[in-house]
């Protein structure tokens, strides 16, 4: 954007090389190249071309492309900017995030003191042994959790977001104060419907979508052809192991049977031996140490009726995965950590964050695979829903986008709600902060998350929130209180997400 393209490109190339060098993939490719020299068709005179074509035909070049593709998802680094700037360019946002984190940590510490439970302690040997034996039954016991309360609720976080102000923003002008009816006062760049139509062109009313166009009401002949075509295409994508193609494919929804593989491919969440080993190490950590947050995790797992076993296993391991801290180099958030004998052993999750894991339990039954996919989804998307940043997929941008879409395209509804003292964001916030997990039926939720992966953005969550308001607009226009507005929007379990989004984006009168 601001530099000569050649310079920027070579910088990017250099940085990616730096990051891939010394990685496991690098040593694997090296080994493969070494071993291929035994082959008779690899000749000394044309060594370069022969090795290269060997790596291509054996699929290693594709793996490398996938790894490079994954690296490109991470933010680029330019020499002049310091690291904290790359995570979050706006100084006042970094400050707000830091003070929010302090608040959360303080809350956790005070809970610990109040209850007399340390943040972390080592389990005695007998308890460790018992837990090892019961690892596969975990989740069926009901420990006494009545004393534990959540660290914070979504509405506390919303208040922080609403209070955010840019010190350089001039809010004295009457015009600017009245032009935005919503709660978010930060002027971030968000896209309106014309831009969204361009960006989400695959969701056009004329394009087939998984979950709508394979419905039983369609004539069987058409259904068969379309479904078979999609299934064939997705099989090819999976067999070719092409991350970028999988992502493109996911924009129109994944077939149920192949979703697990497609998501793993898009996220480049491999299940190599070292991944399984890493998971086993984390599991060992769970058995060894008991953390205060474990109790919070147990508490939440009963709210969501998924296989509780897998769910608990994954979350407990995640809270100990310090490799996740590595990811926070790209995010200005610093998660609270707890120490046992000087060693950092945990990333402390927040209340409700376990809602992100639950849907994945329906896709994967192997713990280490589920764990890897969840971890990738968390560090790419979900963490943005509970940290303060100016990123287009951050919760702040999503809130602003929701409010702007509503004000621009449903002004009567917005005005009416304000008249009765209801701010729409207060109704929609809890949906967006959980990416609708727990509010939609599972199959619909997975179709929504297909698009999050396919478009590499959480924007579709804000669009759906506005689309739900559009769908229930008639009922909402008749309510006269906050309680009745909440009642209208209480049950989303019967909604079909893709038709709602399609109609809102492509059939709204402009």
């Amino acid at each position: 954007m601001q530099q000569g393209n050649g310079i920027e490109l070579s910088l990017t190339i250099a940085q990616i090389i730096q990051r891939l060098r010394g990685s496991h993939l690098h040593s694997q490719i090296e080994r493969q190249a070494k071993e291929c020299l035994h082959q008779p068709d690899v000749k000394l005179e044309s060594l370069k071309e022969d090795v290269r074509s060997f790596l291509k035909t054996s699929g290693w070049e594709r793996k490398l492309q996938n790894a490079v593709y994954r690296e490109l998802q991470l933010p680029p680094r330019h020499p002049p900017a310091p690291p904290e700037h790359l995570k979050e360019p706006l100084a006042y946002m970094r400050k707000a995030q830091a003070s929010w984190e302090k608040r959360v940590l303080k809350s956790l510490n005070s809970m610990s003191t109040e209850l007399g439970v340390p943040l972390a302690h080592m389990r005695p040997a007998a308890e460790q042994k018992e837990l090892t034996n019961k690892w596969n039954e975990m989740g069926t016991d009901e420990p006494d959790l009545s004393r534990f309360r959540p660290v914070y609720a979504p509405k506390d976080f919303l208040e922080v977001l609403i209070g955010l102000r840019n010190p350089n923003h001039d809010s004295s002008e009457d015009i600017s104060a009245r032009s935005h009816w919503g709660l978010i006062q930060v002027p971030l760049n968000v896209r309106d419907i014309p831009h969204l139509r361009e960006a989400y062109s695959e969701l056009n009313l004329t394009s087939g979508q998984m979950g709508i166009d394979d419905h039983a009401l369609i004539h069987p002949a058409v259904l068969c052809t379309h479904s078979l075509f999609c299934l064939h295409l997705s099989c090819v994508v999976v067999m070719e192991e092409d991350s970028a193609a999988a992502q493109q494919y996911s924009r129109q929804g994944c077939p149920t049977g192949l979703r697990a593989d497609l998501w793993a491919l898009i996220l480049n969440a491999t299940n190599q031996p070292q991944d399984v080993m890493h998971y086993e190490q984390l599991k060992a950590g769970v058995i060894q140490h008991n953390l205060l947050v474990d109790n919070l995790i147990y508490k939440v797992s009963y709210i969501y009726l998924t296989p509780p076993l897998l769910f608990s296993q994954v979350l407990l391991c995640f809270s100990r995965d310090t490799a996740v801290l590595e990811h926070f180099k790209y995010n200005s958030a610093t998660p609270p950590k707890s120490y046992i004998q000087g060693e950092i052993i945990s990333v402390i999750p927040f209340h409700g964050f376990s809602m992100y894991v639950a849907p994945l339990c329906f896709l994967y039954n192997e713990p280490s695979k589920l764990y890897n996919v969840f971890r990738e989804m968390y560090i790419r998307y979900f963490f943005r829903l509970h940290s303060i940043s100016s990123h287009p997929s951050g919760i702040l941008s999503l809130c602003l986008q929701f409010e702007r879409l509503l004000q621009t395209h449903l002004p009567q509804l917005f005005y009416h709600l304000r008249q009765i003292g209801v701010q729409p964001l207060r109704l929609a916030f809890k949906w967006m902060v959980r990416a609708f997990s727990g509010y939609l039926s599972t199959d619909q939720l997975l179709l929504l998350w297909d698009r999050i992966l396919g478009y590499d953005s959480l924007e579709v969550v804000a669009v759906l929130a506005a689309a739900v308001f559009a769908f229930r607009a008639e009922n909402l226009m008749e309510v006269t209180s906050l309680a009745s507005a909440e009642a209208v929007l209480a049950d989303l379990s019967t909604l079909k997400v893709m038709p709602l989004i399609q109609v809102f984006l492509f059939a709204t009168a402009m």
């Binding site: 954007m1 601001q2 530099q3 000569g4 310079i7 070579s10 910088l11 190339i13 250099a14 090389i17 060098r21 090296e30 190249a33 070494k34 020299l37 000394l44 060594l47 370069k48 090795v51 290269r52 790596l55 070049e61 490398l64 330019h78 020499p79 002049p80 900017a81 700037h85 360019p89 706006l90 100084a91 840019n166 350089n168 923003h169 001039d170 002008e173 600017s176 930060v186 002027p187 971030l188 760049n189 100016s390």
Partner: protein, 255 residues
Amino acid sequence: MAVITSCCVWQTGHSLQTSHLFFQTMTPDDTKPVNFTVKAPVYLQIGDTKADTAHSGVCVVDVNLPFGKPVNIEEVTFKNYYTAYVTVRLLRRNPEQEAPAKWCTALRDLPLMDNPHTERGSQDYYTIHRTQMQVEPDHVVCVRLILRQPSLAWLTFSLEDIKIFPHTEPDPEKEVSDWLSDLTLIDQHPDLEGLPDPQTVSSSIQQMWALTEVMQTNQTTASIGRFDVSETHSQPHLSCNECVHDGGDVMKFGR
């Protein structure tokens, strides 16, 4: 701009000794920025009296380079603070001609913010390279940055941390290469049947060379006796049993 080469060594064994992959990377500058003085930014006002002024959304920042030392600019870096567009003008003085220094526009209205009313780009770091400029930024005496921010949304706007880096002659460099496509072979073991080992030959040549150096410094007119001048080569040549002939090449010892 300094360029470093980093390489990764593959131990492949067998018929290849080693292979090297060469990468070219551009580092953040090893060269130091030029020392200069920045005058206080001048915000242009509209209106006659002090009470009646309105912000025009235009600001001028003059950067005076050291007197008597015109600079050839490689790049200009700065950190933005809510400036929407920047125009760069240069005062250049040609050292050969006696003509007075002239102003020219190097870059007009470079957008720093996507949308002047919203945050994107408002606090980003920027680099303007000489290749992006419309004129050659050589023999520059003064740089004038004209900042524009048309939006009423912001209380103030400016540029921070302005740095100017001088142009240095580049080192002979290789091209930036794709890591996989630039596999360069060195140190192959050729087929050595009948020939002595190259390593041994080179070390013995070195010894011979050192000996001849010593001999040169201790030259006498006395005949040494052990060496004969041979007529079989195209040039006068001292034949000795350690002289290696390879395909007609003649190795000469001494002067």
